[in-house]
């Protein structure tokens, strides 16, 4: 039964030792340790929250940047298409104008050509008539009395030739 009867001296010393230990640690160690640990835990918690937030921001920024890039690309494509269309239109317009101009020039040239031809024809007719008259006069000088009647005849013949042509 010796094991189950507490020894007075041991109880006394245990009491003293525990109280000394308690007062030393309670005064200088535990509050400080607990405070430091809690502060560090707080700091770590805050750090984690901050990192999560930062990551969220980063993710958002990435999606936003992707969106911007896609938008820019769309715009670029649109602009390219516009430019293409405009160029085509310009070319078409230029072609149309050129055609009109060319047509005008051609028409003017045809008109002047026609006129020149007509004039040339007229001149030619007069000259041929004169020539024919001279020839005929020379041929039939003696046979033909009046100049005027013969000239009429030549004119008549010439008209007939012309009508034939």
């Amino acid at each position: 039964m010796e094991l189950f009867t507490p020894e007075f001296g041991l109880v006394f010393w245990m009491f003293v030792a525990f109280l000394c230990l308690y007062f030393i640690l309670a005064k200088w160690a535990w509050p400080f340790i607990i405070k430091s640990m809690e502060e560090r835990a707080d700091m770590i918690d805050k750090g984690v929250a901050y990192a999560q937030e930062a990551k969220m921001h980063l993710d958002n920024a990435k999606t936003e940047a992707d969106k911007l890039i896609a938008e820019a690309r769309n715009k670029q494509n649109e602009m390219l298409r516009d430019a293409e269309r405009m160029r085509n239109q310009l070319i078409d317009d230029a072609k149309g104008e050129a055609a009109v101009e060319a047509k005008k020039v051609t028409e003017a040239a045809q008109i002047s050509l026609e006129q020149a031809r007509k004039e040339a024809e007229k001149q030619l007719r007069t000259e041929v008539g004169d020539l024919a008259l001279q020839i005929a006069e020379k041929v039939i000088r003696k046979n033909i009395a009046s100049d005027d009647a013969q000239r009429k005849l030549v004119d008549q013949y010439l008209s007939e030739i012309e009508a034939k042509n």
């Binding site: 010796e2 001296g9 525990f18 230990l21 308690y22 640690l25 400080f32 340790i33 640990m37």
Partner: protein, 363 residues
Amino acid sequence: MKSKIIIAIVALVIVALMGWGYYSTAQHRAHGHASELNPKETIFEHLGDAYGWEVPFNHSARIPLPIIVWGQDGLHCFMSNRITDGQTYDGFKISTSEEHHGKVVQVMEDGTEVRPWDFSITKNVAGIIIAALLVIWMVMSLKRWYARSGMKAPRGTKGFLELVVDFVYGDTIRPILGKHAPKYAPYLLTAFFFILTMNLLGLIVIFPGGANLTGNIAVTLVLALLTFLITTFSGTREYWKEIFWPEVPMALKCPVPMMQLIEVLGMFTKPLALMVRLFANMMSGHMVVLVLVLLIFIFTNLFGVGVGIGTSIFSVAFTLFMLLLDVLVSFIQAYVFTILSTIFISMALVEPHHHEAEPQQEN
């Protein structure tokens, strides 16, 4: 390969120790010091307290410790080596009688033995002081780390210490006690580390350890008493009301105070259970190890050396297992003591329940 070398070394050491033990026993016998093996006495000697501290591999030499006694004629102080071999010094000797076996007694003129007030620094007291110094050193080193390194996380031993502190404080004391935690944490943490250190020191078989501290009822008595005092003195009005006027049918509390009796008994059984639990767990662990080791000698005495060697293999294996189990038990019991103390304190800090207020809030 490495593990084979370690096993070989361990086996060699065991065989060498056995041979050396056998040789020294034979020497003892040859010199006429033959003593019968008394397992019961050996076990109780190892479990109990002693004046002086054994050193390994020697039966007679002891580290002397101061003996402080208040006898019939005042205070006496002397070193324990003056009386541990059976001498009488200054009228004091270690009793061999049935009543005061193994304790210092004062021999009166008529030959009767009187037990003085014994404040001796016995083996257990020295062990307690060593444990207390170790705890101070451990905790202060952790504190110094925080003071010096601030927010950096400690590594190695200090990291482990911090883990344990966080486990006990952060996961046990704070959730249970809530806003009261900072007030009671120093006591609970001190108790935890002190008990843990004493438990583990008890498992080391040579000098700074080897004292069966928490397996001694005086030590656990003080610890339980402190928890009891804290619980009692921090009791709220509600706590005392629940003891002396609990909310039970009138027939149970008046005129025969049945509930009161049970509640008051409960006040004392709770710390009593704390005391006995720690004591019994640690003591039984030590006892099993001692019995396992003694089996070797008992079988050697009974059946000769051959059987003794066979038993020693079995015994050493089981002792190793038991000691490892005791390391676990050391942690568990220190933690159980702390968590139960915390719960008892939290029960003493109980606030009124507001039974009538709740239904009104619902409406």
